[in-house]
Symmetry: C2
Subunit: 275 residues, 2 copies
């Protein structure tokens, strides 16, 4: 490390930290819900941290957003109504709106400041926030989901880690509410953290969905700036193999139909954690 | 970070660093070829660094070693003679010897101290070093490969990053020598770094193999403590799809035949880098 360099490190577990060299600090505030930090870097472009955790970087956000959105949307035969829980930066919404079948996408993130920061500093993420098919709400998604019934075809839970504001998004009552909020044939996906360093969260999320839905599945993919760089997504659904439907695939940098199918090939150590 | 904590960080690129909290330092020396550091950690067990780079951790080494070894060995119809270039810690050798077809595996690592450190501090890695089917050599593998002809069925290049001692292992003359050193139908695999943060190395290794062999292929997998956690492996071979043969698969924590096939589903941004 040279003199006068500024670094920001996330302690991803008690024992593991990931750091980036910072060119400048663009925004640093305490919102009503969390600490929000936006920095500029050479290596990963603009980077947003929430409560000290990497949330998005311009360089690597496509892995996570494409896999969270496209797998359930391509697996659903006719995804018209979509709810995004969290995801206030707009990255998941951008991917959802690549699907011409989608008539309305509701983004519900409790923290309006995340969306405002995305508009100010992440133009490639916030690009779809003003799309006529998008509805942006800033309220607790737990209430929204609890009051809904047979409403959405696909629900994407694009949450922060299961501490603080997002803790309820990993609870059993919420996972049961997801099922009731879905229309027949609906699919819910929850980001489920790292199989290597958050195995307990992954397992709990998967088993919670398995209780609430006729079937649960899990798929994985890279997420370089999240802990261990190896990420999981847990799916609650009505059955079947969740393979992509026959329609054309969205254009992306990580997702293809072959990548989609490959993401369900689980290694033995992950299979064991789901038992 | 609490007081009196000891951390070790690798600057994985100029702008990116990964750190682990250290319980104690087990070994720290300058060998004839590189800086060698072994530490004990709560999170990842014993960890070896070479020239300041994460080389192996007890917790996550299975991702890399299984994928480096099992994909080419399961793709080859009858892998009897195997050469490991580098890999002095023994992890790749351990995986190679899980294949009953293998009659002899030669491990050639220039630095004897790496192997001695593995014997002392990484019992689960060094477990196969005394196997009767294993031959351990400490010399420059570049000479060994240059002098060989039609000798090995599979060659695995388990190198450090392309700086210092390992630089020649990424050169075009070495990649051409690999082809000549292989028996008919032989397969060579080179670890080819991160598609995200070492795209130039991945591309150069793949294109070098493509020049030297009738066909080159590439597959990817997780490697949590290597830069970006997302890793690539470049293959030089005579053609075909490199899918697993019909024999039983080795027992592992990451590898299965389905994972093997899935690893070749390349995302669009990687496909573009290979053009």
């Amino acid at each position: 490390m040279k003199r006068d360099e500024l670094w920001v490190d996330e302690e991803q577990t008690e024992d593991l930290r990931l750091g980036l060299r910072v060119k400048s600090v663009l925004l640093r505030e305490r919102t009503a819900y969390q600490d929000l930090l936006v920095v500029d870097t050479d290596a990963f472009g603009h980077v947003m941290f929430l409560d000290g955790c990497f949330m998005v970087t311009e360089k690597d956000e496509f892995f996570y957003h494409e896999m969270l959105a496209h797998v359930p949307l391509m697996a659903h035969p006719d995804p018209r109504q979509v709810l995004i829980v969290g995801g206030g930066d707009g990255g998941t919404l951008r991917e959802v709106l690549k699907h011409p079948e989608v008539e309305q996408a509701v983004l519900c993130d409790i923290d309006q400041r995340v969306t405002e920061a995305a508009r100010a500093f992440f133009p490639t993420l916030s690009v779809s926030l003003d799309d006529p098919r998008a509805t942006i709400m800033h309220q607790d998604a737990i209430d929204l989901v609890a009051k809904a019934s047979a409403k959405w075809d696909v629900i994407l839970v694009d949450s922060t880690d299961p501490v603080g504001a997002a803790e309820g998004l990993f609870s059993k009552p919420f996972l049961r509410d997801l099922k009731r909020a879905l229309a027949p044939g609906g699919i819910a996906v929850c980001q489920a953290e790292s199989p290597l360093v958050n195995a307990d969260v992954m397992r709990r999320t998967y088993l919670g969905l398995k209780e609430a839905f006729p079937k649960a599945s899990l798929y994985t993919g890279p997420a370089p700036t999240y802990p261990s760089g190896y990420w999981s997504y847990a799916v609650g659904h009505e059955g079947g193999d969740l393979l992509p439907q026959l329609r054309p695939q969205p254009l992306g940098r990580y997702y293809t139909k072959a990548v989609h199918a490959a993401a369900f090939a689980l290694p033995p150590f992950v299979q064991e954690l789901l038992r």
